[in-house]
């Protein structure tokens, strides 16, 4: 085991900037001025703009606070500072034959660990392996008082106190500044094969439901361009046997990363229509989404649980379709690439009340990313 504080670890430069960050937060709290927390600023498009007193709020960057503080591969746990580039963390894990199973998207070279946690976005392996929050074991956060606090821990199981670590995931920095996170990591799969099976959409969704009830080593499934794209991962024997059973053609390397990073043609910025993300239950049939005219306007990831939709229809019309199917819809990018005022699905009034209560308790002056998730807090 290696524990470092300000020394390099696994070739990643380390630097502890927590005191400077805390000092800046204490000042913001004293003055009551909002801060816009940024990591690599790669996910700035995701979410609402953070307003300051006049214009956009002042940015507070975590980039200086970086490095792996503890990584013992045998423990299956890594602790890493928020400003560490995600790319560097992943390389350090890979060098030890391990990975972040949630496969977080980067959306740019500079994406940080803090940004991954705060946005909580997961990649193609999500339905099988779990999401970013599922792999979080502990966090350190700087609260509005400017004190660095530790929740959860560097152990696999911990139920002491409320699970504030996982609460930070996806909260978009509205509850505090994340300075460090401990995550569960897993060994890289022994074998991996990707397949391309020509198959109509309806058949693909039926097949996925059927296979879902069987212990098959599927770890990614997307339907687009008339074909089901599948990834198999696990022991060499089962991967080989399953690939033989399912048939199809070998899928080129790099497909899953291109899907995760939204580099496939489907996501092209030139398309002027809005880009929507529909999050849906397993086994949701093909939906009639307003504004969708051809099958290729929808890309099915996560075995159909995450659907990317190109549509210019009214937001409420799209949201209502998702809601009726038991899910919700996020406007990922507005028409013409413009930001929208309400990207996330509006909350039910009782739930919203408790969001406001939590925000009022943890950040009464609204110094942490106010308005980033919803205008009300």
């Amino acid at each position: 085991m290696v524990t470092t504080h300000d020394t390099p670890h696994h070739d990643i430069p380390g630097h502890d900037a927590s005191e400077a960050l805390a000092e800046r937060i204490r000042r913001a709290e004293a003055e009551g001025t909002p801060l816009r927390l940024v990591g690599g600023d790669t996910k700035a498009f995701f979410g609402r703009k953070v307003q300051g007193r006049t214009g956009e709020a002042e940015a507070l960057s975590t980039r200086e606070h970086r490095g792996i503080t503890e990584y013992d591969p045998v423990e299956l746990i890594v602790s890493v500072r928020a400003g560490t580039p995600l790319r560097e963390l992943e390389a350090a894990l890979a060098a030890n034959g391990q990975m972040l199973p949630c496969e977080p998207p980067h959306f740019g070279d500079d994406a940080t660990v803090g940004g991954m946690i705060a946005t909580g976005l997961s990649g193609p392996r999500r339905p099988w392996a779990g999401s970013v929050r599922d792999f979080v074991l502990g966090t350190r956060i700087i609260t509005r008082q400017g004190s660095e606090q530790r929740f959860g821990g560097q152990v696999m199981k911990n139920v002491a106190g409320y699970d504030l670590s996982r609460l930070m995931v996806g909260a978009q920095g509205t509850l505090g500044l994340i300075t460090e996170v401990s995550m569960k990591v897993l060994p890289l799969p022994g074998a991996s094969r990707s397949l391309h099976l020509d198959m109509p959409l309806k058949d693909a969704l039926e097949k996925l439901a059927e296979w879902g009830r069987q212990p098959l080593p599927i770890t990614a499934a997307a339907w687009l361009d008339g074909a089901l794209h599948l990834r198999l991962e696990g022991g060499p024997s089962s991967v080989a046997a399953t690939a033989e059973r399912l048939g199809g053609d070998e899928l080129l390397d790099g497909f899953w990363e291109a899907l995760r990073e939204q580099r496939l043609d489907f996501f092209a910025a030139e398309d002027p229509r809005a880009l929507w993300r529909l999050s849906l239950p397993h086994h949701t049939p093909v939906l009639e989404v307003p504004g969708v005219t051809v099958e290729t306007d929808v890309l099915y990831d996560w075995a159909g649980c995450q659907r990317w939709v190109r549509s210019d229809a009214d937001a409420e019309a799209i949201r209502s379709v998702a809601r009726q199917a038991g899910g919700h819809a996020t406007c990922w990018r507005g028409a013409g690439g413009k930001a929208v005022d309400e990207p996330f699905t509006p909350l039910d009034p009782v739930i919203e009340k408790y969001h406001r209560n939590l925000k009022a308790q943890l950040d009464p002056q609204g110094i942490f990313n106010p308005g980033r998730l919803y205008a009300a807090f």
Binding site: M1, D72, V74, E75, G120, R133, D134, T143, Q149, R150, F151, G153, V155, M156, K157, V159, A160, G161, Y162, D163, L164, L167, V169, G170, A171, L175, L186, P187, L188, G212, R213, Q214, P215, G234, G235, P236, S237, S238, A241, S279, P281, H282, H283, W302, C305, G326, G327, H328, F344, T345, P346, L347, V350, I351, E352, Y354, H355, L358, Q361, L362
Partner: protein, 496 residues
Amino acid sequence: MNTQYDARLDGEPPRIAQAEVLADLRQALPGMTLLHREEDLRPFECDGLSAYRALPMLVALPETLEQVETLLKRCHALGVPVVTRGAGTGLSGGAMPLSHGVLLVLSRFSRILEIDPDARTARVQPGVRNLAISEAASPYGLYYAPDPSSQIACSIGGNVAENAGGVHCLKYGLTVHNVIRVEVLTIEGEHMTLGSDALDAPGFDLLALFNGSEGMLGVVTEITVKLLPKPETAKVLMASFDDIEKAGDAVGAIIAAGIIPGGLEMMDNLAIRAAEDFIGAGYPVEAEAILLCELDGVEADVDDDCATVRRVLEQAGATDIQLARDEAERALFWAGRKNAFPAVGRMSPDYYCMDGTIPRRELARVLKGIGDLGEEYGLRVANVFHAGDGNMHPLILFDANQPGEFERAEELGSRILELCVEVGGTITGEHGVGREKIHQMCVQFSPGELVTFRAAKAAFDPHGLLNPGKNIPTPARCSEFRLTKSAGDAPAPTQA
């Protein structure tokens, strides 16, 4: 001793007589079972931590959600605390009643509402037993993964409230990883859906926050869990060691070989003997430690992994390795482990179960520390644990009829937990803080961190009516605890 609610340290209780609350609730809820006579209240005086007892003011046994909602609204209006109880198997006094509070028992909500084999989910009421879900899913080739050893009795609502684990957690996760949606009633009787049938939900991850919140933030009234396809095959290897440290190192070596076993459990000699005596599982009673390693998945992979694990165990110095020959023997190997608590219980009039989690690399050091502490206090300690995730269950044997022995067991327990914190671990991996570990919270967390916990609680229950005196200590309690610790730090001497 901190068993009884203490107004000075836990907060001023309401001044309202039982008769008044009874009359109010009877009027608002004429059809609901409401117990108030001492002999009827007695069976509810404790949960699985039987040393902690108190008679509730009233026990409510609702059968409909409307009754729960009305009950909460009335208690909120009257300022009367509510303690929720599932099956009462909790081991930290989380469901211990309050003499000035209503015990809300959810055991009558025991229906499985829906199994959807295509979506691989089960929607159930909170009083459904953990094992009943897997039984109902079985005809579809599916099961619910988290399997606490208490699974024949404990409720899924209690599992959510404790974020319960089981022997299969390392690979399949805890309750929080396997619950996708819950319906909740707040203390004000408002209804909320947390999570969703999809893989995420908008806003904060309140579902994660409610998992493990010990009935402090709301009452869970319905749960949707994820079901998994049953593995094609599961095989168990049992390895014996003549040295507990070697067994600990073998655990790390298996993981270093890139294998995540479905279950990886360890027992020390005292626990092995107890289990063998009780169940006759075929355990080697001479061994200092055994490891049970379950490998599950697709047949071909499992065979490959069994070969790898066998090699690793041999290199780690195992004196004997047995592969369960068939399903019956596999079940028998596990039966010994799953019955380890009651088995140890047969060796001694009483036992006290601890639940610290540590980084695995500290295993040898902590086991030795526990042994030394046991000697210091003159009490025997058996060790059974989820070795794969470093979650230890030291079982302290004592006799409550011997004056002072329970106090000594309790003090030994807290020293063990403090040792866990010292090596970078936590005071509870899966049993919760409840009433029992309220003082150790002051050890594990700084005053500032406790302020943040209280803020989260206040967002949902500003008047502290849900399960007061549990989970998060008041500032008064921590200052008193710190004072007594610094005053009389020397542990009670033992005469043994």
